[in-house]
Each structure stands twice: as C-alpha cells, then as structure tokens.
Amino acid sequence: MMAQLMAIVRKDLLLEWRGKANLNALTVLALMIVLTMSFALGSDPTRLRLTAPAVVWVAIVFAAVLAFVRAYQMESENRCFEGMLLAGADPRAIYLAKLAVAALTMLVLEVVVIPTILLLDGIALGPRIWGLLPIAVLGTAGLSAVGSLYGRLTMAVRAREVMLPLLVLPVVVPIVLAAARASDLLFHGPAGQLGTWVGLLVVADVVLVTAGLLTYESIAED
C-alpha cells in the first residue's frame, strides 16, 4: 500500500509540477480573496489587524475547496480514476495520496498567502511565526481529509463546483474555527489557550481521516 501511495503522490505532484496551472490559479485566487476582504472591511488598520486571522482562513478554505474539485477533475478526464482501480490500486492508498497532494499544494499556497497578509496588515510576529506551522499543517490536513473524500463523491455529479463547497464547508466548521482561533491567539495573544485549539485540530484530524479511510472504499468504485 505504501508503494502505491507514493506512486500516486509522485504522479500527482509531477502533473502539478509540469502544469503549475492549479497552484498558480489557486494562489492568485486566495490573494484576491484577501484583497477583497480588506477592501470590504475598510482601511482602518486596527480592524484589519484584528480580522487578519479570519480573513486568511476564509481565503485558505475557499481555495482549498477548488483544489479538491481540481484534484478529481483530472482523474475523471479519460477515466483515469477507473484506470487506477483497474491497475489494482488500494482505494485507501488513493485516498491518502489525494489527501497528501491536496495538503502539500495548499501548504505551498499558504507559504505565499500568510506572509502576505502579515505584511499587508503590519503584523510583526518575530520568532512566533514558527508557531503558525503546526496550525497550518493540522488545519490543512483536516480540510484535505474531508475534501479528498467528498471530491471523489462529487466527481461524477453535474454541479460539482457548487455541491462540493456545500458538502465540505459545514463539516470543516470545527477545523476552520480552531485554526482561525489558534492563529488569532498567536497573532494577538494571549497564547495561554493555544494548546486547546491545537489539541482540537489534532482530534478533528484523527476523527476525519479515520472516517475517510473507513468509508472511501465504499464510494471509490462508483
């Protein structure tokens, strides 16, 4: 299973590397969301600083949902997904590979988007910036756990661009909430309750990845 997982991850990363269209488009989209939110919020620097953690996670979530649509769009073209199953790929390996690639893509996007908003809103984090790393990784993993499952589920649905966010967003409420709160505490303090939110992210990730692994097989062959 591990070899299959690595092979699919390699395939998807290679496709992403050769095309780059996906990551570039998503990064620009996320930056546009950040900009649009800033315009909508007004030019008051204090307000922008306070809303920064919320804005950044809204941008990440919406970009992520599109990433999940794209991840399966390329599989449905030329019936690639069926090909993987026919080649004997374990559905769980496909699920974990999709999860890993989506999470990696989103993390690259976050490396661009998060510093940008910190710069724009004049938030100086100093060494605390490393604290963002576990929050981003855990939050992105949780989003990808849901997105990789529901992306497969809506792969053949007519209105998948609408249906996927509709299905994903309510389920990822705890992840968005915990990630945004944790970032907020990191940006503006007090850092005392940070552990609670990171703990919640860990629990949500474990629950969602386990549930995804257990149920992916039953929808993989549709």
Partner: protein, 251 residues
C-alpha cells in the same frame, strides 16, 4: 437477527402508517389543548413557556429521525441492500424538516426570553450545522441518477456528518466559553421543580409527535419503495421492446 427485526419493523410501519396517523390526531389535539389552556404559565417566562410544548417534541423527533438515518446508512454500507437507503432518505427528509421547524420555533422563543432571535450558543450552532449537512445530503441525492451510487454516496455523507457533530459541538462550546463566562441561560427540561401538569403536557405532546414521525416515515418509506419499483418496471417495459426490434432473420 437485528437486521431481520428492523426489516420486519419497516414492513409493519409501512403497512400501518395510516393507523398510526389516525392515532396521533386525537393525541396531538389533546396535547394542543393541554399546552394552550390546561398547563399553567411559567413563573418566570409566563405564557411564553407554551412554546416548549412544540419546541422540545420537534427537536426530539428531529434528532431521532437523523439518528435513524445514521443507522440505516450504516446498514446500507454493511448489507448493501437498497431498502436501507429508503429508510435513510425517508428519515432524513423528516429530520431536516423538523430540525428547521425546531430552530424557527426556538428563535421565536429566544426572542421572547433572551431578547434576541439567535445566539451562538453551542447547542443552537451545532443544530444549525447539522441541518446544513443534511440539506446538502438531500441536495446531492437530487443530482445523482443511479440509485446504487446515490445510496452509497448519501450513506457516507450521513456517517461523516454524524461523526463530525460531536467535534463541531466541542469546537463551538470552547469558542464561546474561552472568550466569556459561560452564560447558557436556558429553560431546563429536566428541571425537577417542573409542575406536574407541565410535565404531563410535554409527555403527551412528545408521544403525539413521535407517532406523527411514525406516520410520516411509514408513508415516505412506501413512496421510496414504489419509486424504486417504478424504476425496475420501466426497465422491464424496455426489454421486450428491444427484443422486438431484433433483426427479422433472428426470429
């Protein structure tokens, strides 16, 4: 064993739906009269308390209905029998309807007692997330043609949604309580000082609404089964036609 019992209960429910429906009419009528006139007004909330007799039964049946959907979804993935999908969707539709109703009644009650229609109270927020998850469940069903694909897709959504609900609840609970003192002022159902007449009224209405759920579920189960049968009948109609179109020399 459990599967067979559940299965025969479904058959029974479908056959006796109308009887259950007739039974629930007088109970709900008596329950309404008790709720509006017989039970006393509350010491603190006055007449507003009467909303409880509709709010509590609707939310109770809504949670029951969505739990039934979860059970049916698990059975479907386990046993791969389409009949469980009938039960899942029948119960989910009733669940979404009643959860929405409970939220609306709750909002009106909230306006009367708390002064606002909505607060980000964990119970309210979790219920709202639950209703959105199952609204998506029903929407996706409407977009999928193949009944097998649809059944398995919806089962997965129902299970993931249910597994997620405790996490949602805790996240919202902490979101609220870590920022301000927990002020969950809420009329408590299990209050031991509740008047006997109030308690009896509530019980009568709970029984009435549960029977109403049984009636709706039985009718909806029948509809789901007939829809599925219609799909197969259509197929059977096509088969002789295609054989009639075979080349003449084949006859």
């Amino acid at each position: 064993m459990v599967r067979r019992d559940l299965w025969s209960f479904m058959v029974w429910l479908e056959r006796n739906a109308n009887r259950i429906g007739f039974a629930c009419v007088p109970i709900l009528a008596i329950g309404t009269i008790m709720a509006l006139w017989w039970s006393p007004p509350d010491v603190h909330m006055g007449q507003d308390l009467r909303l409880m007799y509709i709010h509590v039964p609707t939310i109770w049946v809504a949670y029951l209905a969505l739990t039934v959907t979860l059970g049916a979804s698990l059975m479907l993935l386990w046993k791969r029998e389409l009949r469980w999908d009938d039960l899942a969707v029948a119960s989910a539709e009733i669940g979404v309807l009643l959860t929405t109703l409970a939220i609306v009644v709750g909002a009106i009650w909230g306006k009367l007692t708390w002064g606002v229609y909505w607060t980000w109270d964990p119970r309210l927020t979790t219920t709202a997330v639950l209703v959105i998850i199952f609204a998506g469940y029903l929407l996706l069903r409407a977009l999928t043609e193949d009944s097998w694909v649809r059944a398995r897709q919806s089962a997965v959504i129902a299970i993931i949604g249910f597994v997620d609900i405790p996490v949602v609840h805790f996240s919202v609970l902490w979101w609220r309580s870590l920022h301000q003192a927990p002020t969950f002022l809420r009329p408590n159902l299990g209050d031991p000082t509740m008047d006997d007449r109030m308690e009896l009224t509530l019980i009568v209405n709970l029984v009435g609404f549960t029977l109403l759920y049984g009636f709706l579920l039985g009718r909806r189960l029948r509809l789901a089964r007939l829809q599925r049968e219609l799909e197969t009948v259509k197929w059977d109609d096509i088969v002789p036609e295609t054989s009639a179109l075979e080349p003449v020399h084949a006859r």
